[in-house]
Amino acid sequence: LVVLDPSRWGLSEWVTAITGLLAVLGAVYGCTRFLLRNIWTVEDRRRRELLSAFATLVVAGAAGGILLEIWRRSQPAPPAPPTLTFQFTYGTEKDAWITAAVARFHATSPRLSNGWAIRVALDARGSILTADEISRGGLDTDAWCPASSVELAQLRGALETDPTHTSLSFVSDEPVSLATSYLALLSLWPERTRLLRQALGKIDWDTLHTAYTAPGGWTTFGGQASWGGVKFGHTKPTTSNSGLMTLITLAAWHARAMGETIPPTASVTHDPRLQAFLWVYEDAVRQFGQSTGSFTGCVLSAYAASHDLIVTYESDILAIAGSHTQPIELFYPSLTMICDHPFAIFARQHDPNTALKQEAARRFRAFLLEDAQQREARSYGFRPINPALPLSSSIPGFLSDVASHVAVMPPPTRETMLALQTAWTTRYGDPTVSPGC
């Protein structure tokens, strides 16, 4: 190792090396002259001397370069900058997009302003359960992007009510939406919904109410007896965002019809008329889903018989449409909610690196909002924030300009959401769900 590493050489090693190098150069010069005189027969002495000197210089240069490279490589590498890892918690519906985006982000060797490297630790979770866990102190994270502002409102409300369980607090800048997706209706049996449209004119919350109360089920609308009743479907509103949004939207629809304000207030949820209205839809559900992320694919592949129309995210429908061979159709109810995927950043009270983590989170957020990443989001069925990157799809019923066709309701207060969940649980308890759906 000492022989190969000039940084460890003493005087004797250097004298030996230089002497050896001079001997090699002398030999090169002598050999070249001999060859030029006897083998290649260059008669001109001056030319012979010049060519020999040139060959010696080439060899000397090469040997010097090799020695320099050995010496350079033997030098200790400059110290790598410290790495700062921040935890990013996000809704499972974005898992495919975010996982791929983080790999691309890391490939850019991102750094903080102080030169530290940035790493993102991913943590995919259901949005409603995450809000609960954070407020109960069961989860510390640096940034969170739930499915919608509904969960942010839940968490804000919980922290305002009792902030003592967690050391997290929202930082002052407002959450930024990464992409959007509408709450939509997916028809698993387009030939059936065609009959509904013929009979009732459109597919919307009010016509579905009529369909779910039809005593003859599908036969009322000209369908076959074997189709049974008109069936509804969504995820459990106590554990899953899209299920909760469905309840909220239905409650808002009823409130608007009653001339009340929307979003509905918590007191309205005790109204027996509202409950009677809601249970018409909920009684038409055969089997609730567990998680929005897997619900759409699961229903399409295994449980189509138990669902006619389901409520899910437009992004889930578009993401799966390419691989699904059976006909399906998309509907946008005239009153709906939007998943805005808000990217919120937290301050962690007892973490000395919290300011750096906030900077890292902002850097990652900015990366996700770049056009290239937004195009990637679009390939997973999300609507980019940049209107210059419109979403398109060949799935029947898709509307690129959906905003001009529907009214979007903002999230209600946390109290309203809790009251709706409580009323639902009182009636349905903890129903059996399709495993893994």
Binding site: G297, H307, S434
Partner: protein, 531 residues
């Protein structure tokens, strides 16, 4: 691991393959030690304290049933099945169907006409039988589903009947189940049952082995219809194709959940091992094997449905068109309670070997088995007791158990061992006596013997011809269950008698487990509320 026996043909070779690969998770190679068992029976074993690391019943129905009973047993503990997205995963799926021989289904109008439970109920009670649809040659309608207290398909069948009778497809309530019209409807279907049983696969095997004269229709899983039609048929006497009828009132889809219990005995290492095994089962080659056996693939696998899930194998992958809402655990309990009154009653003769070789502990244990068996029956079931040695003696003729239960128990205690083994004549006499009984009860003869025929050896094999000629074992005929008790009885002889009697093969018992053998036989006609 306890898993539904309906998946045995798929899982058993896969488990052997997996174990042979010696895959490691946390602490060394993983070995799966698995037992196929009915879903209800496996739930009962968990409730009885068996520490199961993986549970794969036929349907997610059983998850909420187990949780409800578990939290009743352990009020301070958490539910044994968690509620997270990872708590349970669909391995494969299969709709619950009414399996019927193709010519019979066509007589009902299939495939042009949608057939449902109402048609089955009407056919069950029509005194004209198949003559009502222009096929007098088919005789009376015979039907079967498994014991709903022990098997998923039986419970599914019961709920589907109740839905059909109530005119609902969702939100079945206890009030619905208890309505007289619903009870009458279910009772009508039950009147055509030839027997119940613990295993759905058993019916499929028996249907295929014995053909339409034995059983015309049964509640099976779709995959069992495919499996039956995949078996080669040769000869003029081969049974026709079996077809799946998807009831027009809607049906259930069995989703075969793979569950890792949220229990203290499931260590992190065991949990990791179970997750590795689950990933193996969801992998494409294993899912393709499941399809080849007639199952529909897991939604998590992204494998498409393909042959043999097609009309050539009696099924329609576009069906069912409508699913039924899953009843709550409370409604399931109501269904089981009312079924105890609706189920078809049984006329059962207990034929008991009291030859000299039974003396001692053997006799005492067998008598305890008889006593236990009486405990599984309802007072309205009719029971008789005949003992045989050199001669046969009817101790108690077949009559309702209620008024004579104590007397019969005393009679059993007085049995003593002596003499030879007059097996064949005793079987024939009691089978023909039961055959001549009137009424629509299930008729069953349960034979226990510890030895070979010693009195009239020449009756073999004529005995089998006589039994068949008398219609024993077919349709509404007498079902003969044989028990090989100890090492000296001839298994081959008792197997053939059981086959002629329509019950598959002989059960084997010893003084140590004879009570369990009688209990297993009782599942073919008894209600759990009696046990």
């Amino acid at each position: 691991m306890l898993y539904g026996s309906e998946k045995q043909q798929w899982l058993q070779p896969l488990i052997a393959t997996f174990n042979a690969r010696k895959i490691s998770a946390c602490d060394g190679p993983i070995t799966i030690n698995a037992t196929p068992i009915g879903s209800g029976a496996s739930m009962n074993r968990i409730l009885a304290g068996e520490q199961v690391d993986i549970w794969a019943p036929a349907s997610s129905w059983w998850l909420s049933l187990l949780n409800e009973q578990w939290t009743q047993q352990h009020p301070s503990s958490r539910p044994i099945i968690g509620s997270g997205a990872d708590a349970a995963t669909v391995l494969v799926s299969s709709p619950v169907v009414i399996a019927m021989w193709e010519p019979l289904a066509r007589a009902l109008g299939w495939p042009d006409k949608a057939i449902g439970w109402a048609d089955i109920a009407a056919l069950s009670v029509d005194p004209r039988g198949w003559d009502a649809v222009g096929r007098p040659d088919l005789g009376a309608f015979t039907f079967a589903h498994t014991n709903p207290a022990l098997s998923n398909s039986g419970l599914n069948a019961l709920a589907a009947m109740a839905y059909a009778a109530a005119g609902k497809t969702n939100n079945l309530t206890c009030q619905d189940v208890q309505r007289p019209a619903v009870q009458t409807f279910v009772g009508n279907v039950e009147s055509s049952i030839i027997y119940y049983g613990e295993s759905t696969g058993f019916f499929a095997d028996q249907m295929l082995a014995r053909g339409p004269s034995f059983l015309q229709a049964a509640v099976l899983y779709e995959n069992l219809v495919v499996e039956a039609n995949l078996k080669p048929r040769t000869g003029a006497s081969a049974p026709p194709k079996l077809v799946a009828i998807y009831p027009k009132e809607g049906t259930f889809i069995t989703d075969h959940p793979f569950v890792i219990p949220d229990a203290d005995w499931v260590t992190p290492a065991k949990r990791a091992a179970a997750q590795v095994f689950r990933a193996f089962l969801l992998d494409t080659p294993q899912q393709r094997q499941a399809i080849a056996l007639g199952f529909r693939p897991s939604p998590q696998s992204h494998v498409a449905v393909s042959a043999p899930l097609d009309s050539a194998h009696g099924v329609d992958p576009r069906q069912p068109q409508s699913g039924l809402g899953i009843p709550s655990a409370a409604v399931n309990a109501c269904l089981l309670t009312t079924w105890g009154a609706q189920r078809r009653r049984v006329d059962v003769m207990l034929l008991f070997d009291r030859s000299g070789s039974m003396a001692g502990a053997k006799l005492a244990a067998a008598k305890a088995g008889l006593q236990a068996f009486l405990g599984f029956l309802d007072p309205s079931d009719a029971v008789g007791l005949t003992v045989f040695s050199t001669t046969a003696q009817v101790i108690s003729p077949v009559a309702p158990l209620g008024p004579k239960r104590d007397a019969l128990r005393a009679n059993i205690e007085q049995i003593s061992a002596a003499g030879q083994t007059r097996l064949y004549d005793s079987i024939y006499e009691q089978a023909t006596a039961l055959q001549q009984a009137t009424g629509k009860h299930i008729r069953a003869l349960i034979v226990l013997t510890d030895g070979e025929e010693t009195v009239n050896i020449g009756l073999w094999p004529e005995l089998l011809d006589r039994l068949r000629a008398a219609g024993v074992g077919s349709g509404t005929g007498v079902k003969i269950y044989t028990i090989k008790y100890g090492d000296d009885a001839r298994k081959d002889v008792l197997d053939q008698i059981a086959q002629a009697g329509g019950t598959g093969s002989a059960r084997e018992g010893s003084p140590a487990d004879i009570q369990q053998v009688y209990e297993e036989i009782s599942t073919f006609f008894s209600s759990p509320s009696n046990s």
